[in-house]
C-alpha cells in the first residue's frame, strides 16, 4: 500500500506500525462488507438449492447443484392461501402502479418546486412547510379516512386508488426535491428571462426543465423505490388480484398451507427486490443524493 502512507499522521499512534493499523482497518471494513452482503448471499444460494438440500442445513454453503425450479415456481406457481399464480401478476400490478404514480408525482413536484422557489408570494413558505410536514406524518393517521374516501370515489381496492394515494402522499417529497434544486439556480437567470418578456411557462419549460435532469433523476429514483417497496398502502387499500408485489410476497412467505418451501420464499423475495436493486446498481450515485436530500437540507 505505498500510496496510503500519507495518512499515517491521522490514523497512526507512535507504537503501532502503520502497516498493522492499515491491516486492522481493512479487516474491520471487510468484516462489515460480509455482514451487509451475507443476507443477500444467503437469499441467492437458498433460492438455487433444492428443498432436500436445504433441509440438510448448510445455510451458508453453495448449492451442490443449481436448481432453478424455485425461481420458476415463485414467478408463476407459488401459492398464497388458495391462489397459486406466483408473483407474476402482482409484479405487473406493481409496474402498472409505479409508472403513472412516479410520472404524475414527479411532474407535480417539479411545478410546485418551481413556484415555491422562483415565484414566492406571501404565504408560499407556509404552503411549503405544510406540504413538507405531510412527508413526515405516520400514515396510520390517514389510513382510515383514506379507505372511506377511496370507497366513496369508487376506486377502492384497485390500482387507480393506489396511484392516487401514492401521488397525494408523494407530493411533499417531490416538491421538496425540486424546490431545493431550483433555489440554487441563480436568480439573475430568471430575472433576465422575465425582463425579456418570458412568462411563467416559458421560464419553466424551455429554460428550467433542460437544466433539471439531475433533480428529475433523483426524484424519479426516490419515488420509484418508495412506491415499489411500499407495503402499508398496498395491504390497506388493495384486494385480491390487485395487490402489489410486496403484499403478494408477504402472503406467499406467510402462507401456512402445505410444505414450507424456503427456496421459493427466497426466490420470491429476490424477484421483489431485483427492480430496486437494479436501480441502485445503475444509478446508486443519484440514489444516495436523494436519500441525503430527503433528510438533510439541500
Amino acid at each position: 500500500m505505498p500510496d496510503q502512507t500519507a495518512n499515517v499522521a491521522r490514523g497512526g499512534g507512535k507504537r503501532w506500525s502503520p502497516i498493522l493499523l492499515r491491516g486492522l482497518l481493512f479487516l474491520i471494513l471487510g468484516l462489515f462488507v460480509l455482514y451487509y452482503t451475507l443476507p443477500l448471499f444467503v437469499m441467492v444460494v437458498t433460492s438455487l438449492k433444492s428443498l432436500p438440500e436445504i433441509r440438510q442445513g448448510a445455510l451458508l454453503g453453495l448449492p451442490k447443484e443449481i436448481v432453478l425450479d424455485a425461481w420458476k415456481n415463485a414467478w408463476s406457481e407459488a401459492c398464497a392461501g388458495v391462489t397459486c399464480v406466483g408473483l407474476k401478476p402482482y409484479f405487473w400490478n406493481s409496474v402498472v402502479l409505479v409508472v403513472p404514480a412516479v410520472i404524475i408525482s414527479t411532474a407535480i413536484g417539479a411545478i410546485n418546486g418551481y413556484i415555491l422557489s422562483m415565484w414566492q408570494f406571501k404565504g408560499s413558505n407556509i404552503i411549503f412547510g405544510l406540504m413538507l410536514f405531510g412527508c413526515f406524518i405516520p400514515f396510520q393517521a390517514v389510513l382510515l379516512p383514506m379507505a372511506i374516501t377511496l370507497g366513496k370515489i369508487g376506486i377502492a381496492g384497485n390500482v387507480a386508488g393506489l396511484v392516487l394515494v401514492h401521488v397525494v402522499y408523494g407530493i411533499g417529497f417531490t416538491t421538496l426535491f425540486f424546490r431545493n434544486y431550483y433555489v440554487s439556480v441563480p436568480v439573475e437567470l430568471v430575472k433576465a428571462a422575465k425582463i425579456d418578456g418570458a412568462g411563467f411557462w416559458t421560464i419553466f419549460g424551455p429554460i428550467l426543465l433542460p437544466m433539471s435532469a439531475p433533480v428529475i433523476v433523483v426524484t424519479v429514483i426516490w419515488q420509484f423505490t418508495s412506491i415499489w417497496n411500499d407495503f402499508l398502502f398496498g395491504v390497506s387499500f388493495s384486494q385480491g388480484d390487485n395487490q402489489p408485489i410486496t403484499v403478494a410476497l408477504n402472503n406467499i412467505v406467510n402462507s401456512t398451507t402445505g410444505v414450507k418451501e424456503y427456496n421459493v420464499d427466497m426466490a420470491s423475495a429476490m424477484i421483489a427486490a431485483i427492480p430496486t436493486l437494479l436501480v441502485y446498481i445503475v444509478a446508486g450515485k443519484y440514489f444516495i443524493r436523494g436519500l441525503a436530500a430527503g433528510s438533510v437540507k439541500g
Binding site: 500500500m1 495518512n7 491521522r10 490514523g11 499512534g13 482497518l25 471494513l29 462489515f32 462488507v33 451487509y36 443476507p39 437469499m43 437458498t46 433441509r55 442445513g57 445455510l59 451458508l60 411545478i111 410546485n112 408570494f121 408560499s124 404552503i127 412547510g129 405544510l130 413538507l132 405531510g134 413526515f136 405516520p138 396510520q140 393517521a141 390517514v142 389510513l143 382510515l144 379516512p145 372511506i148 397525494v168 402522499y169 407530493i171 416538491t175 412568462g199 411563467f200 417497496n229 407495503f231 402499508l232 410486496t246 410476497l249 408477504n250 412467505v253 406467510n254 420464499d265 420470491s268 430496486t276 436493486l277 436501480v279 441502485y280 444516495i288 441525503a292 433528510s295 438533510v296 437540507k297
Partner: protein, 290 residues
Amino acid sequence: MEKLIARYLPKIVVAPSFAAVLFFVYGFIGWTIWVSMTKSRILPKYDLVGLIQYDKLWATPRWLVAIENLGIFIFLFVAIALVVGLFLAILLDQKVRAEGFIRTTYLYPMALSFIVTGTAWKWILNPGLGIQKVVRDLGFPDFEFGWLVDPEMALYTIVIAGVWQSSGFVMALFLAGLRSVNQEIIKAAMVDGIGPFRIYTGIIIPSLRPVFISAIIVLVHLAIKSFDLVIALTSGGPGYSTDMPATYMYAMAFSRGQLGQASASATIMLMTVCIFIIPYLYSELRQKNA
C-alpha cells in the same frame, strides 16, 4: 384580464396541490382525531364522547406492550445505527482503497423493501435451519439462538434487521458530513500536536451535530412507522410480544373493527412524531429564510 391571470398564475397552479394536501393530510388527520373521540366500532360514528377511547387504550395490556416495544426499539435501533454508521464513516474516511465498492455494499440494503429484508432475516434467524444450525454444525452442539421464537427476545431480531437495513444510510450521511469538516482547523490542531483520537472526539464529532440531528430524525421516524418489518419478520408474535403501535393500529382498523381504538392509537403515533418533527422543520425553514 390576461394580465390578471398572469399575475395570479403561480398561485392558481399551486392551488390544486395545496388543496389536495389540505384535504388528504390535514383533513384526514382531523377526521382521525375526531373519530378517536367517538364510540366508533365497525362503522365510524361522529358523536363526540370525550377521551374514553384513550382511557381504554391505556388500559389495554397489548397497547402497553406495543408502547414499551416501541420505546426499546427506538432506543436500540437509533443508538446502534448511529454508532455503527459513525464508526464506519470514520474508517472509510481514511483514504481507503476501493471506497466506492465498500460504500455500495454498505448502502444497498436501503434499496430493499422492509418486506424483503424481513423475509431474508426470518430465514437466517430461524432456529431450525438458520444461524443456530450453522454454529451447531461448526462444533458447538449446545449453541442456542432462538430469538425469533422467544417472546422475550423476538423484539431484538427486529433491531438486528432494522440496523442491517439502515446503518449504511447513516454511514453515508456521516461520511458526507466528515468530508465537509473544515480541514484547516484539523491541520492547525495537528500542528499543535493534538493526537488523532482527541481530534475526533474534541473537534470533528462535535462539528457533526447537524448530521446527528438529521440522522436521528430519519431513524426515529422510520422506527415509529415500523410496520412492514414487524409484519414480515414476526407478524407481531410470538403472541403479541413484538407488537408495535403501527401493527396495533392496523389490527384494530382492519381486522378487529375497532375504529375508535385504531384512531386513538394513530393519533398517539402522530403526536409522538410531531414531538420530533415540528421543532426540526421549524428550525430548518427558519434557517432557510434567514
